[in-house]
Subunit: 463 residues, 2 copies
């Protein structure tokens, strides 16, 4: 049976595959908000059922948080590599809800000037992406009656909330999870058109801080001017985190940040990244980061410090002349090279403490941390997959960096001694983590076809 | 009939007076939040009914916002001054609700180590205070069968939301409202023990601003470092509003700020203000304002700029690596002397515009403004009232400044050509505008007695 027959089956079955994805997208599996715990569980059940229908030995596995889904396919006499596929079934929160053009959990196919899209929370990150692999397996099985090689599917439900159960679960189940190579589908095409394998990933450190000042909320008429205002203290601390050149001022922050190699710099220049379009797509025109770095460097190979949330005092309608007792912020750092998340957490906290005026105290809450990752591309699966992607998309696939933090890739190396390939089909305008998230129908369709081609190349390579 | 009989009646009827106040406090008349519109209306009705029971010709008067309550008592052949009494029946919002020890609108008498208190939103600001005058009238009428002089009662329902209807209403009803002198009960004792008449009031300017950056919320992994973050922009603008010496940096801000006269400075020094206790009561120890000013100056005679609220990005449980499209703040200025609120609004907005980086825009919303006020103490009612207060409290009453903004005093002068006396019985620890607001039962009781003494002195003076 030829690859062409599988690809034809994928084309023919696309409406059914899309309907299945819409079904999964209807489950509001927001992992960070405890109110959606039962929905996360329901998404896991849905996937277990689907994997069983594909012939996997699949089960929902409890953790102290949301469950894992683990599935095995291990036919007698299978040849070829043992592949592990990773994705996550949890999604980001949906606020601000008023900026959505539709209910985020009532997904729909929409025709847009740029083509058909699947609209809804999780369409791109990561339900649409993980289903590309499952649909490729389904088409393969429909034509061959079997899957091409030994497969393990490993789906997580806490990726959007810092993956607290992931490492313990990998450690406890290392023998069961270990395979020859991991496939991770949670990244995008380069510039929305060039297929890419990510080999460089930024790490992440999340911190939440609360500045305490007066022992209670005060009247700004009675105390304004003479009492310390925690919002002003917090604003000054945030303002001081960057200098005039956009560099982060936390002492020791740049320890372990490597300079880009000339080779990699040349390769990235060859990608002809259109930063005007990248910024223009989101209503911006001027890069805001370090003045002496290119936008692609800022995103892929430079560390950052961003404020993801701030709140304090009266934030409702109208006005209240309150001088609040406390103010809060959520701050995250993207890390590169050998930056140590624990050292940076300590340095950041020391910086804040050193900048607190009299009568103020600070409380910290850590929100997960992961070092940056650097893939080795020496495993032959990398070049085979790159060729398969090039076949499907008609454009030479690239090894690229990724601004986001996908710690799972590093964990496969650390805890299971496996190389991981990050291959995904998201586009820059998918609005993941934002209102009106979508996944192009083309990404979904050609994503499924890409995996069929990759499975074909990897199993042929083994023969 | 002697004053003593009226005072004895007040003492005897205190439980009934307290029960009436608790009844009024149960109405959640939060004027700034449209959800409580019907409750504001209900509070006005309650007061109209009570005033009618005291023999007033009372009515609820519509405005584009919440209604005014106006009541007249004009007996045939009345001698003595025509007095106008002003108070407000609306209250502040109650958030953060979790910091209240009881439902803010289920008020109760509580025994505390410092004495009995009436606990609930509005107990001190301003329902408890306005009821001191009505209860003094009630006792007077019980003993004399009539009230002592011609009286107008004028109660507002928008004081906590910038009084948008007040000036138009005063202008339209100037002839009806004009009296010889105004009595305003919305201030406190000096240092919780010395009766005081406020002669110096700070003005207020409220501004809300929204900084817009990217056209939508972004993923901080994909855009962090390269895209402009509105929270960081806002923090930098707020941090820049004060210099290292605590002075406000808005150009021209100090135009019209007078230096304290030697005479007033000497009088204030005589008050022996205990700033360690003032700050210590709210968990602070070091004055935070201009380094070269005393705390009493900071509160009474220096202008301020405070942030009353800030919000942007993800503020819920857990963490979301969002780079938000916008960030917001509510900022207020307390004004003194001849500072012009309109000039300062323009200068503040220009300052913000001048500090916006590329790709950012700002939207402003004005939240009311009033210039500072300076009472003339030449009207003989001032000295008569000061003597009455000294009689009741056994401590020489003082002319003082007030950090808060009670624009009504200036409006009586501007629109009705009346002098106004600000006399109130609140204490520093009443927690007005904060959780667990209270009014001491002593403030309520001696407040009622104070008004009876003032009415007695003012009517005797006229004979």
């Amino acid at each position: 049976m030829s690859l062409d027959a599988v690809l034809a089956k994928i084309d023919e079955a696309l409406p059914d595959a899309t309907a299945r994805l819409l079904d999964l997208l209807r489950i509001p599996s927001i992992s960070t908000d405890p109110a959606f715990k039962a929905d996360c569980d329901r998404a896991a059940d849905w996937l277990v059922d689907d994997l069983i229908s594909l012939g996997f030995d699949a089960s929902k596995r409890p953790t102290p948080g949301h469950p894992m889904v683990v599935a095995h396919y291990n036919p007698d006499g299978a040849t070829g590599p043992h592949l592990l596929f990773y994705g996550h079934y949890d999604v980001q929160p949906v606020d601000p809800l008023n900026l959505w053009d539709r209910d985020p959990f009532d997904p729909q196919i929409e025709d847009t000037p740029a083509g058909r899209v699947i609209r809804g929370r999780g369409a791109s990150d990561d339900k649409g992406q993980l289903m590309t692999f499952l649909e490729a397996c389904r088409a393969w099985k429909a034509k061959h009656g079997t899957l091409p090689c030994r497969l393990t599917i490993f789906l997580e439900g806490e990726e959007e909330s810092g993956s607290p159960s992931l490492i313990p679960f990998m450690e406890e189940n290392a023998d069961e999870l270990r395979a020859d190579v991991a496939l991770i589908c949670d990244t995008g095409l380069f510039e929305s058109k060039t297929p890419a394998i990510v080999t460089m990933l930024r790490g992440l450190l999340g911190e939440e801080l609360t500045i305490h000042g007066p022992s209670k909320d005060l009247h700004s008429g009675m105390y304004g001017g003479v009492a310390r205002n925690p919002i002003r203290v917090l604003s000054r601390i945030i303002a001081g985190l960057h200098d005039e050149n956009g560099r982060i001022t936390v002492p020791g922050f740049y320890d372990g940040v490597p300079e880009l190699s000339d080779e990699m710099r040349a390769q990235w220049q060859g990608l002809a990244f259109d930063h005007a379009r990248f910024l223009g797509d989101v209503g911006l025109s001027v890069p805001a980061g370090e003045v002496d770095r290119t936008p692609l460097e800022m995103i892929w190979s430079r560390p950052t410090c961003e404020v993801n949330g701030i709140w304090g005092g009266y934030t409702g309608d109208g006005f209240k002349t309150v001088l609040p007792a406390e103010a809060h912020a959520k701050i995250s750092f993207r890390l590169v090279g050998r930056q140590d998340p624990f050292a940076i957490r300590a340095a950041f906290r020391a910086y804040v403490q050193a900048n607190l005026p009299a009568d103020c105290t600070v409380e910290f809450k850590g929100h997960g941390n992961s070092p940056a990752g650097q893939m080795s591309v020496s495993h032959p699966a990398f070049e085979a997959s790159r060729a398969a992607l090039t076949d499907e998309w008609g454009v030479a696939a690239a090894y690229v960096g990724c601004g986001g933090s996908i710690p799972i890739a590093g964990y496969f190396k650390t805890y299971l001694d496996m190389d991981a390939m990050l291959i995904g089909f998201g586009k820059d305008d998918d609005q993941i983590h934002s209102p009106n998230e979508k996944y192009d129908l083309e990404s979904f369709h050609k994503g499924i076809r890409s995996w069929a081609r990759i499975l074909d190349r990897l199993t042929k390579q083994a023969k």
